[in-house]
Symmetry: C5
Subunit: 317 residues, 5 copies
């Protein structure tokens, strides 16, 4: 669908008209929004607005990185909003000229909607640069709640890791770690884009709104630092769990080995005197049974002493 | 084989002629393609075109990195296309002058073929710079399907990792990880080449087609980011599997230890009263058997209680 | 609460007055401190001082990175003091003009208190730049004792790692490692802020106090190097513990395997001759029992010899 | 030994003469080679040629990094050839002036020998800059066969890793990994030297042979990229083996646990009815034996069912 | 203790006099050395020499990073010598003016002693810049023997790792790794200091002794490269040991599992016919015993065959 809005020559705010109606107005400036457009609608990027073919190609193909290109008379941006379901990127393309904004996106975009509402509310108080600023600012603000949620959950898990049921928890940590990787894929290129536009290319529009774009850049920096530090936190938790599992395994195997090493030889001795040979002199002894019991007891004590001397019992503490 | 094509002085498109026929024409510009040439054919790089010996050496030797060298009157490129079988690099060397392109490659190249067809179709609408652009653009586009396939497979594997048969899956993850390493070896130097040519050396031909080469560079950046993020994903999956294996091992050993620690002492006691000593007073007791059973039952209950208190059963949840 | 202090036109030190009293004076320079202000108090940032809305937004929202922004007539800083309990950041915002300082913080700040006392003590000997220097200097000095404590504890643990009770110790190492991560999150952005202000933006106020700010920067550099090197130390300790656990597990399993591999077959043989078949010729032999004992002894000796030849006993050394 | 060669004033090639004979000639340019010189011979660097004491110190001491220093009237290089036995560095020092080369090395150097032969063959067609180029070029070419051999062996090992005897293979991988580390120590500083000389210091001699030195630099870049990518390959193989070992351990322990968990309780029951108590009512039952067998069979079936439900058998697939 | 020395106006070398005697001379230049000074002695830095309070603070406080500050009329250095016992840093502070050097250190310093002796020996041939060069040069030379010793020991351990007693060896590797970390903490900031002074700040005194300071910088670069490459070597050894331990564990558990899996079922069967039920038909069979033996033998053969088919015996090779 294509929606058109803008401020006409008399300063009136016009909104939600079609592309055909749009052509009848004289505009101070206008904003055209392509939302999941059909192929025919996409073609109007070329037939009506005559944008550069490379830019149009970037609109309808996927998996473009966030970027800024300068063309004659307008700037072209590819931006990445966050798809809150998959934590992947939702592309929003934007053509920005002195008296127009054209946005193009496949999925619904809350950042675009939010700015559209602002245009209807504030009308001629805005200009195309404000529109583009509001879209990018809103897009950036939407990264925070997702990341805060991950951070809070990681802190919760870390607090509770003294418990024994960490099998489930560590799986959740890995899921969160994988989410952070997805977020990084979306957000880092956005940060780099704002950095380039702000400090390297020193885009004109932005020098007029410099401190506003620095505010966005600061937030993007903050978000990427949170991602990195949460990734580091999941690494540490993984190592922590691995060490706890290893300690626990040592304790388990020590238990098994102590019990087995003591009782297996004793059981052998018992088995020995359970044999049915006709001639086994010890069996006839008056105190044979008690001697056997005594020898077994002695063996157990000696073995326990050996284990103790080697410090095997300390691990259970 | 050497194939020649080009636009002659009258603007006619000539194509698929031999080197001898080629010499008879007067050319507006021409393209010579060496495809798995013989030694004699390779020698014509020197005898006919008088290229620099270092450039010619780079043509017939292997394992050159992608690069660009400027010589008097022409530029020399070593490019790496992707061998889809081995995921290794297929070298394509290219000499690019104001009125000629010379390409040299051992294996068949779909990027060269594609541009050759374009030359025959579009004829005098093209120039040598267009040819070189189309070859590099096609080469770059061919990286994507390979990488998308790896990414899709990794996502599939991650979705299914709750199942128990992860032995096979993790081996596949390692194979994909090794493929990514091979891809990186080929693609990163290509990206660096385009970067140098575009931003550092500011090659003349490219300043004329600047936005087209930036488009290529953007795609190469995207591909290398995909490689890195997929490598990170395989690391995480490996760690995930390692932790799951460790948890599973704990559960297995706990099972063994619980069963053994309970039954080994009981079996010893049974063995004790299976001994054939002539004088064993307990055997004569009226309730000896039942007392023995009772003691055994008590031992089992106490041990189970100890395990429970130490939280050993929680791990199975 | 809002506290006001400063030097009036006659050079008298005025302190701890309210905002209403403040308005009645003529000031050489003044310092307003907002400490956990109410919403109404926060509003005076706009209504009384007319600071930029982006700066005011940064005051009352959380999770801003340390930063410096230049506005018309004043500089704006977001600083991070250390919350000694959580090792997280406590934001202190500061507006710094030629004749005023305005500080804003939610939690009590010992760095602000310390400078406030200095102002009351030294009076007109100070100026706004001194105030800001003293706050930042104190804030930085407070990082050291926390880090020294962690470093000392790690050294203690490393010294004692020959003991067997390392289960508890390694958990403490992971806690310290997690603390270091938290510290890094707070301190690294502070270091980067001072770096930018000192070397990149070459802020005017600071060129006047250059060597003093370099001293702060040196300390921040020292602290971050200590954090990194202590993180590296915890990694090494974790790997060390992991290797020790692995060696210990080998020793445990070897013990179990030697004992089991020797006695399980012997017990089987004993069990064999404990069977109650009516016709078992060996049982009738005169020396059957002694032959059986001999065979068992021989088996044990042979197995021990095999283990020795494979070097299994060396691991216990 | 000191060998002298060069082109005399008449353009004749003189070679393999002693230092004393050398002094009698008038030279267009000359090359002096110190090969494992005695202390007296080394002293002639100072007494005859008056080189700078820091440069001379670098000649006779070991463990200098590859480097280039500019002195009055000559350049001084420390170069690292590869010792094919230890994969360590063999130092070759070189003084290069407008009309002389002086080389100094403890071990025999095939790169020096090769250039010496060229001088005898090509005579006055060469100059000191050519000599230095040929030595460095040959030295660089010698890195490739060593690295190719390692790469080929790693590929062989990776192909064969489906087999079970990976104990030996992984040890070889570690040896190769250690070799790569040694190679990196030698080659990376050489690459950095050529980079500095070529791009940073823009040495005069080299601007004349610019494309030749770029060719060397390209090869060094290629070699270091091969080292890094082979190191990454060995890491991946190590992780792969670790995961396979872990899977195998799971399968082994599962086998042991299944067998033990089923038979240990059964053996206990058998032991129970092997006791010799005088009064054991079950023993007298007509079908006691068959009931016991039945109970045992049932227990085995139930346990197998439990294992199956927990998916324990899937791991063997 | 404060020691004074220098060259007086007539060019005589005066040495080892007290601060009071020092004040009576007229100096061409002088060197004052504070060695573990008392508080009163430290105060003379301010009262006699009027150095900057920040520099004096750096003298008597600990844990300053190596650094260089320029003050009016003199440079201030904090240098780190190596404490050979702890491998930590020993601070040496140095004030360097056109006609004086003042050094300040808590511990004895062999680098200072060495230069002091040189001053007494060479007298007026030296100047303050030479003194500072000799101190820093000696300090740097002292890093090498410590590092060489670590490197040699690591090489020894790597050679001997085929032996089985690697428990002790790996602990030593971890100790050496921890030493390398300590060394890095001391040496890297020294390298960075010399780099900054040499290339960034282009300090005047040093431009006069440029090649001498480059020689120091080269050595520091060499030392830090050795540290990094030895750290990498210890990582590889740790991984190698880990893999060997894992292989060994597999072999141990396989032994246990093979023996147990074969004999536990056999022992059960033996136990079965050891039961004392009154009615057990098999016991009466003429060939019951031999049939039982046969069945047991068959079971053992079948299980061995299964293990062999699964390749379990290959791991022992
Ligand atoms: Mg798109
Ligand atoms: Mg915002
Ligand atoms: Mg906002
Ligand atoms: Mg998720
Ligand atoms: Mg999952
Ligand atoms: Mg903000
Ligand atoms: Mg080449
Ligand atoms: Mg080639
Ligand atoms: Mg393309
Ligand atoms: Mg395309
Ligand atoms: Mg493959
Ligand atoms: Mg494979
Ligand atoms: Mg594109
Ligand atoms: Mg705030
Ligand atoms: Mg301070
Ligand atoms: Mg201070
Ligand atoms: Mg904890
Ligand atoms: Mg804590
Ligand atoms: Mg200081
Ligand atoms: Mg040498
Ligand atoms: Mg070469
Ligand atoms: Mg060559
Ligand atoms: Mg070895
Ligand atoms: Mg080797
Ligand atoms: Mg790692
Ligand atoms: Mg000090
Ligand atoms: Mg030195
Ligand atoms: Mg020296
Ligand atoms: Mg230790
Ligand atoms: Mg030590
Ligand atoms: Mg030197």
């Amino acid at each position: 669908m294509i929606s058109c809005a803008g401020i006409d020559a008399e300063g009136n705010t016009i909104s939600n008209i079609t592309l055909n109606e749009f052509k009848k107005y004289e505009w101070k400036w206008y904003w055209i929004d392509y939302s999941s457009p059909t192929v025919e609608e996409t073609n109007t990027l070329d037939s009506v607005f005559h944008f550069h073919p490379l830019a149009i190609e970037d609109c309808y193909t996927e998996r473009q990185r966030p970027k800024h290109d300068s063309y004659d008379g307008y700037s072209f941006f590819v931006l990445h909003a966050l798809d809150k379901e998959t934590l992947g990127a939702e592309e929003i393309c934007m053509f920005l000229g002195p008296n127009f904004v054209v946005t193009y996106h496949e999925a619904l975009s809350s950042a675009v909607n939010h700015s559209w509402k602002r245009l209807r509310a504030e009308g001629s108080g805005l200009n195309p640069d404000d529109i583009s600023y509001h879209i990018i600012d809103k897009m950036t603000d939407e990264y925070f709640p997702v990341l805060n949620q991950i951070e809070d959950r990681l802190n919760e898990i870390e607090e509770s890791n003294a418990e024994l049921t960490y099998g489930k928890l560590i799986e959740e940590v890995f899921d969160l770690r994988s989410d952070l990787l997805r977020l990084r894929r979306t957000i880092v290129p956005m940060r780099d884009l704002v950095y380039r536009v702000l400090f390297v290319e020193r885009l004109h529009l932005i020098t007029q709104q410099r401190e506003y774009y620095r505010d966005i850049y600061d937030h993007l920096l903050k978000v990427t630092e949170m991602i990195e530090s949460n990734r580091a936190m999941t690494s540490d938790m993984r190592d922590n769990f691995q060490t706890m599992a290893s300690n626990r395994m040592n304790a388990i195997m020590m238990t098994l080995t102590i019990v087995s090493t003591i009782f297996i030889p004793l059981t052998f001795i018992a088995g020995l005197y359970g044999m049915n040979f006709v001639y086994m002199p010890e069996l006839e002894y008056r105190y044979g049974y008690f001697i056997a019991l005594g020898v077994m007891f002695l063996m157990a004590v000696v073995l326990l002493g050996l284990f103790k001397r080697n410090g095997w019992f300390k691990i259970f503490r």
